[in-house]
């Protein structure tokens, strides 16, 4: 069809070359107007269709049946239709004969132009043909294209207006909302923690505050106060779970940032220093304190020593100076972390290269982030180690100065130097205490978070979980059996004579014992099987009694202390010392090692239970 149209257009163009100019001009002018009129008519008709399409699109969109993409397509189509219609109509074939006929009719030319259009292209024309063409040429000068093809209002303009009104109506229409409005989320429930779950944490926080005040650690004291305030808010149910997590994170950021320090190396050096000081009578007590890592006592001893300096004899001063000199030779190894840092940096660079090649590798990304965090931590540790190195150096210098002044018989200066050394020791003590206390506080916050997570998952608190655990251990379902009184269990003689260790044990199930199908109890049973000991072994063999004497030493061993704690209680000084040592170690371990949080709880709970009273 396109080929036919093109061929016809070409033929017409060839024919038109033989038309007289006036005729051509008349035809061209009229044809332009006719095309324009056609375009207008078609645009109006297509506009009606377009408006209908737009109306349908808007309606469906408002009714929720059409997405945004569909709306765009519909509206674009609606807008494009009039232009498309106009173009197609204007491009439609309009023959010369048709145009000429229109001119003839409107100008009463008695078909002169249409005849001329045909005759002009004749190959064998007679004089009549020529005369007709000439006649048409003369008449064509009078042709007015606007008369031949006046612009008139499109026929469908009324309908277009009506359709437009429909569109406006639909636009103004209000549809009931079909979008599902998400119900307002209920206000977050205030956090409720059972008192038995909260109490231990509160107690720890209060203890922390007390110790911080005692040891004059203002930062730790502040943190402990904030924690206590937090617990009060929890008790009063003023916080939601989310708010509590946020506050804990805030506290961590405020107080815990930069507390990656390691005091062990410094303590080792101080212990060595103590070892040297121990060798001299005057500094023995200070040395002992340092050996036992009792920095507060060491500080006190140095202060006392400083006071005694001017009363010392020459020989004593000389011995003191020698002792101080020996003690001041302790140095911390430089940059032990450097190798680790270099290693980490290499690892990080490798991971970054890997990520550049494999952009979508979430595992590598996570590893990189972890290494970067480790690097940050190591950097902080390095800085703190450097600081400790400087502090130790200062202590050494102060001791050296004291020693020098003692040799030079400059007692006031020596006193001053010793006092400065004591102050430095005090600063060491403070730092160490602060680290320890902060560590405790951090551990407590971690515990609290773990508790919240458990409660958030609909789980039970620690007490509840412990009860369930003990019930399962008994072969009962959690909650089964009512509370019964427990009896004392076995007791082991701390003297090693085959005694028994008395420990409170959970009792038997209450109603469940007589009636296994009875209702579940409301707690842990606290009585025990009366047949716990079982029947005594009947030894048929002959035996003889043998007494073994124990070896005398300075105080009980650690194991004796521990074992004896259950008999003698947790109030002995030996036990207190042992407890402190073990607690420090265990806290360090819990902090450094990757111990699952659940296990951490049990360890801490254990230490709580065996805490010296």
């Amino acid at each position: 069809m396109l080929w036919e149209v093109w061929r016809e257009a070409l033929r017409t163009r060839v024919m038109a070359q033989s038309y007289p100019t006036t005729v051509l001009r008349a035809l061209a002018g009229t044809r332009r107007r006719l095309r324009l009129q056609r375009a207008l008519e078609a645009a109006t008709t297509a506009g009606i269709v377009g408006l209908l399409a737009a109306t349908a699109t808007v309606y469906l969109s408002k009714a929720g049946a059409l997405g945004s993409r569909g709306v765009w397509i519909g509206l674009t189509l609606a807008a494009a239709l009039p232009a498309l219609g106009a173009l197609l109509a204007a491009a439609r074939r309009l023959s010369d004969a048709r145009v000429a006929k229109r001119i003839d009719r409107t100008h009463q030319l008695h078909d002169r132009l249409v005849t001329a259009v045909e005759f002009a292209a004749l190959e064998r024309a007679t004089c009549f043909h020529a005369a007709q063409v000439r006649d048409a040429e003369r008449c064509a000068t009078r042709v007015v294209p606007s008369t031949a093809a006046p612009f008139r209002r499109p026929r469908d303009i009324g309908l277009l207006g009506l359709t437009l009104l429909c569109l406006v109506f639909v636009l103004l229409l209000k549809f009931p909302s079909t979008t599902v409005v998400a119900p307002k989320p209920p206000p977050l429930a205030r956090l409720t923690i059972a008192p038995e779950d909260l109490e231990p944490h509160q107690a720890l926080a209060l203890e922390l505050e007390r110790q911080a005040l005692e040891q004059d650690l203002p930062e730790v004291s502040e943190l402990a106060k904030e924690l206590n305030k937090l617990f009060e808010q929890i008790q009063k149910k003023e916080l939601t779970r989310k708010e509590l997590f946020a506050k804990l994170a805030e506290l961590e950021k405020k107080y815990m940032d930069g507390l990656d320090g390691n005091f062990d190396d410094l303590l080792k050096k101080l212990k060595k220093m103590g070892g040297e000081l121990q060798k001299e009578k005057l500094t023995k007590e200070a040395g002992n304190a340092l050996k036992q890592a009792d920095l507060d006592k060491a500080k006190k001893e140095l202060e006392d020593l400083a006071k005694k300096v001017d009363r010392l004899k020459q020989e004593q001063k000389r011995r003191l100076a020698r002792s101080l000199d020996r003690a001041s030779r302790q140095k911390m190894e430089k940059d032990q972390l450097k190798r680790k840092l270099d290693q980490l940096n290499r690892q990080i660079r490798r991971l970054q290269r890997q990520l550049k090649q494999q952009k979508n590798n979430p595992a590598a990304r996570r590893r990189l982030q972890r290494k970067q965090r480790q690097l940050q931590r190591l950097n902080r540790q390095q800085q703190q180690a450097a600081q400790q190195r400087r502090q130790l150096q200062r202590l050494n210098q102060q001791m050296k100065r004291a020693a020098q002044n003692l040799r030079n018989q400059l007692s006031p200066e020596a006193m001053k130097a010793l006092q400065q050394a004591a102050q430095q020791m005090g600063r060491f003590a403070n730092q160490r205490n602060k680290l320890r206390m902060m560590g405790k506080a951090q551990g407590q916050m971690v515990d609290l978070k773990e508790l919240l997570r458990r409660l958030g998952k609909g789980g039970k608190g620690k007490q509840g979980k412990l009860k369930d655990f003990l019930a399962r251990a008994k072969g009962l379902k959690p909650g089964q059996g009512k509370k019964g009184k427990g009896k004392k269990g076995l007791m082991l003689d701390p003297n090693g004579q085959g005694g028994t260790l008395i420990m409170p044990l959970p009792g038997p199930p209450g109603a469940g014992q007589d009636d296994p199908n009875g209702p579940p109890g409301d707690g842990i049973g606290d009585s025990s099987d009366p047949n716990l000991k079982g029947q005594a072994t009947k030894l048929k063999a002959r035996h003889k009694n043998l007494m073994v004497k124990g070896q005398e030493s300075a105080g009980p061993t650690r194991s004796e202390v521990i074992l004896g704690a259950s008999e003698k209680g947790f109030a002995t000084s030996h036990y207190r010392r042992v407890y402190r040592e073990y607690t420090e170690i265990i806290e360090e371990v819990l902090k450094r090692e990757e111990v699952p949080l659940g296990y951490k709880y049990y360890v801490k709970r254990y230490f709580q239970l065996i805490k010296p009273r």
């Binding site: 002169r112 045909e118 064998r124 004089c127 043909h129 020529a130």
Partner: protein, 343 residues
């Protein structure tokens, strides 16, 4: 003005055509004015009759008696200086009365022989008055001559000299005892012209002219040869395809079975026009164009001659006749419904 031989016409000289047309118009106007001296009004009839003459066709005049039909034809013959004969058709008219017969003639030497005596048909312009009163046999003798332009008597054909124009008349009132021309024979007439009763003014003029002492007479203004030349000029007028197509579509619309036929055709027409109707349309349109000073026929010319050319060629069915529908009504609807431009 002597017309140039078409064979030697320069192909694209419009002046030639302009001259021819101008001369044509002049001669026709002279004829009109000369006829107008005798015939009052009826300009359309006069033009129709002239068209029949110039188109080398024949005309059928229908009108009540006393409207000047015979006088018109006679006057026409006078203005053209052509031989005129009038045949009054009666029921007892025989073919020989029209075409002539062989008569036994005695020669001076005493011998006898048959001699053909030409009948009144041997004229240039023949008025066949009340043609529907003669028997079909007699009608056929005339119609044969009209078609063949010759007469055959006793195996001898006698050519009728050109121009040969038959103008027949019919009285639409007295149809009893008449022999209506069959359709096939009606078709031989180029135009059927309806002579209308003159209006008041025309009657005044008629009375003044015909009841006074001096009765006007027409003089010859155009000779036989010029008539023949004028006929040639008419034949030379070109018709554009679109105009011809229009004529064809009009003729096709008279056929009830045709897709483009309007309601009236489908309902009231039994038979439509033959192709002779299209010929009549074109010839009549050419003459009108020439008379209008144009060089080619137009659709408007076709429309003007449609009634004259087709009214006697369209046969109504019983329903049409029963409802009193005329062919003119049908043709009017055809002209209204058939567009000048084909779809």
């Amino acid at each position: 003005m002597t017309a140039t031989d078409p064979a030697t016409d320069p192909a694209n000289d419009p002046a030639q055509a302009e001259q021819l047309v101008a001369a044509f118009i002049e001669d026709v106007n002279r004829l009109r004015s000369e006829i107008g001296k005798v015939i009052v009004g009826n300009d359309a009839i006069v033009d129709g009759v002239l068209s029949c003459l110039l188109a080398a066709g024949h005309g059928l005049l229908e009108g009540v008696p006393g409207l000047g039909k015979t006088m018109l034809v006679r006057t026409l013959a006078q203005t053209l200086d052509l031989v005129f004969s009038r045949i009054q058709f009666t029921p007892d008219l025989m073919p020989a009365d029209i075409i002539g017969t062989n008569v036994l003639v005695e020669s001076p030497s005493g011998g006898k022989h048959f001699e053909f005596q030409r009948g009144p048909i041997f004229a240039h312009i023949v008025l066949a008055d009340e043609i529907n009163r003669a028997t079909p046999k007699t009608q056929s003798a005339l119609l044969e001559a009209m078609q063949e332009k010759s007469v055959t008597v006793s195996k001898t054909s006698y050519r009728l000299e050109a121009p040969f124009l038959v103008l027949a008349t019919q009285n639409p009132l007295e149809m009893e005892g008449t022999y209506p021309l069959p359709e096939a024979q009606l078709d031989r007439f180029l135009f059927k012209l309806k002579v209308e009763f003159p209006d008041r003014g025309e009657l005044h003029t008629i009375l003044e002219r015909t009841t006074s002492q001096e009765e006007p007479e027409a003089s010859p203004v155009v000779g036989r040869d010029r008539v023949l030349e004028m006929r040639e000029v008419v034949r030379r007028v070109p018709v554009a395809r679109v105009v011809q197509d229009y004529a064809i579509r009009i003729v096709q619309a008279t056929h009830p079975e045709h897709g483009g036929a309007p309601e009236a055709s489908r309902k009231y027409v039994r038979y439509g026009s033959s192709p002779r109707g299209a010929q009549a349309l074109l010839l009549g349109a050419k003459i009108l164009a020439l008379l209008d000073g144009r060089f080619s026929a137009s659709c408007a010319d076709i429309r003007r001659v449609t009634h004259s050319a087709l009214r006697h060629r369209v046969i109504l069915n019983f329903e049409g006749e029963a409802e009193g529908v005329t062919t003119d009504d049908v043709l009017a609807e055809i002209l209204e419904k058939v567009p000048e431009e084909a779809a």
